[in-house]
Amino acid sequence: MVLIFAEHQKGQFKKAAFEAVTYGYKTAQAMGSSCAALVLGNATNAAELGKYGASKVYHINDAALENFDSQVYAAVIGAAVEQTGAKVLVLPHTSTGKSLLGRLAARLNAASVAGVNALPSVDGGFRVKRPVFSGKAIAEYELKSDVKVLSLMGNALKPEATGQDAPVETLSLSIPAGRVKVKSVERAEGTVPLPEAELVVSAGRGMKGPENWGIVEELASVIGATTACSRPVADADWRPHHEHVGQTGIAIRPNLYIAIGISGAIQHLAGVNSSKTIVVINKDKDAPFFKAADYGVEGDLFEVVPRLTEAFRKFKEH
């Protein structure tokens, strides 16, 4: 059996839970086995995990599970694995899941792989892949133990709700006392630091004329980015030449490159495709730049850019 730890926040399942159940269901299918979900703490709608492929949901609701203590959770999940005879345990690759993965691997003396982003291959040995070196390579692992533990990278696959509610049962197991006391849970203020982030907002011919650059500059100023432009824009003297990025201009590799109204000619890409994350905003869905982008927005830049600026501003303010 494949057992999924379905994480929830105040009773609401996270998307990661549905993804994990979908992943577990597909893995179980490949293994000719079934998939069950495990829910710890107070959750109201555990049965809905059945829709994503869990044929059974084990729900252990106890006051001791109200707050997260990796030692307590690992003891309970480990006992559940043993009681149910699960051979594969799938956790979400979240702060909670990651805090449990190592504990459970050690507890169950199980092979483990963190942050898998594709289904395992199960013919002739259990193998699974994950990205390593910031996505610069992919490693494939063989897991040689009887029980295997995986954490599933977020957004690795789409949750698929195809089935119906599953029966919910409990398990009788002992819950140890926790040694980590949760004092408070606060909203973070400015948790993601910007200083190291090199941000670039770049625009092209889609801007229609130099008089329209206000929205680009505003976006850049809100996130503290440098402005850039494509070659035709520089050639037309809409923008100064020192802003020109691309093969014949400046080659850049910022953490974030936002390309606005740039089609993405190969010469342009050559100068920017080392960027860690590329966002492309273009009204032409066939713009080649979308193929090189991490995130694409198909839409009128004169509407999308101010909206994005607003969203960043809102993000910055809270």
Binding site: S70, Q71, A74, S95, K98, S99, L100, L101, G102, R103, L104, A105, A106, R107, A110, A111, S112, A114, G115, V132, S134, K136, A137, I138, E140, Y141, E142, L143, K144, S145, G154, N155, R179, V180, K181, V182, K183, S184, V185, E186, V192, L194, A197, L199, L256, K276, F290, K291, A292, D294, Y295, G296, V297, E298, R307, E310, A311, F312, K314, F315
Partner: protein, 246 residues
């Protein structure tokens, strides 16, 4: 306080990744290795700050072969009192953790520090493993840690927020950005590090359960994720939480 800091060796962030001929390993030719920044900048420095304020010792431990001594010396130059190296090239996180736990179980450490993850494999597994093997509490992603006697108050990063917890020593803690400020070793530190001891221990026997069978290079960029043009909050969220560039 007796503190242990687990340090790991990783390729430098800018390393270009190429594979060996049989694709079963990375081509390490020309790869520049560094101490994992989360171990060095945050875990080690916070441990040093604690002993500087309240007394005690900081030991660094590394699981690896003799060519890791350079980064161990750096840990000593930054200020650790002594070092332990377990002489094995492990294939899996569990093997690393077993070696560390084997040493720590008789070491009498009050706190075991390590970075929240290594920058090469980003597995984030070893801390939990060490804690489980030693039956200790584990607090992950610590961005703040204050000690009052034997009780630590720790802020840990969680999705979209911070959780504040309290835990008594002994425990294991993994360090995130914010826990301390990077320290550059000074000349005195570098000189004294040369006379500080590195104890080399034989490995405890353990067969790796998860082994790397192949590497591949990404063929092309994964498909673009389209975001609804009416929902730029979602784009900001993705950049924030998924791409982690904002």
């Amino acid at each position: 306080m007796k503190l242990l800091v687990c340090i790991s060796k990783t390729p430098d962030t800018t390393t270009k990744i190429t594979l060996s001929g049989d694709k079963r390993a990375l081509d390490t030719n020309g790869v520049q290795y560094i101490m994992n920044p989360y171990d060095e900048w945050y875990a080690l420095v916070r441990a040093l700050e604690i002993t500087e304020k309240s007394g005690g010792t900081v030991t660094v431990i590394n699981v690896g072969l003799a060519d890791n001594d350079a980064i161990i010396r750096k840990g000593l130059a930054i200020g650790a009192n002594d070092a332990v190296r377990v002489d094995i090239a492990p294939q899996s996180a569990l093997n690393v953790a077993k070696q560390i736990a084997e040493h720590a179980k008789t070491g009498g450490y009050d706190i075991i520090f390590l970075g929240k993850e290594t920058i090469d494999y980003n597995g984030s597994e070893v801390g939990g493993m060490v804690a489980e093997l030693l039956d200790l509490p584990f607090v992950s992603y610590a961005s703040k840690l204050e000690l009052d006697g034997n009780t630590a108050t720790i802020s840990r990063d969680i999705e979209g927020g911070v959780e504040v917890v309290e835990v008594a020593t002994p425990f294991v803690v993994s360090a995130a950005k914010g826990l301390a400020e990077q320290r550059i070793p000074n000349m005195r530190g570098i000189m004294t590090s040369k006379s500080k001891p590195i104890t080399v221990l034989p490995p405890a026997p353990f067969d790796d359960l998860a082994v790397t069978v192949a590497y591949e290079l990404p063929k092309e960029k994964s498909a673009v994720k389209m975001v609804d043009p009416n929902d730029m909050d979602e784009l900001v969220r993705l950049l924030h939480e998924e791409a982690k560039v904002i």
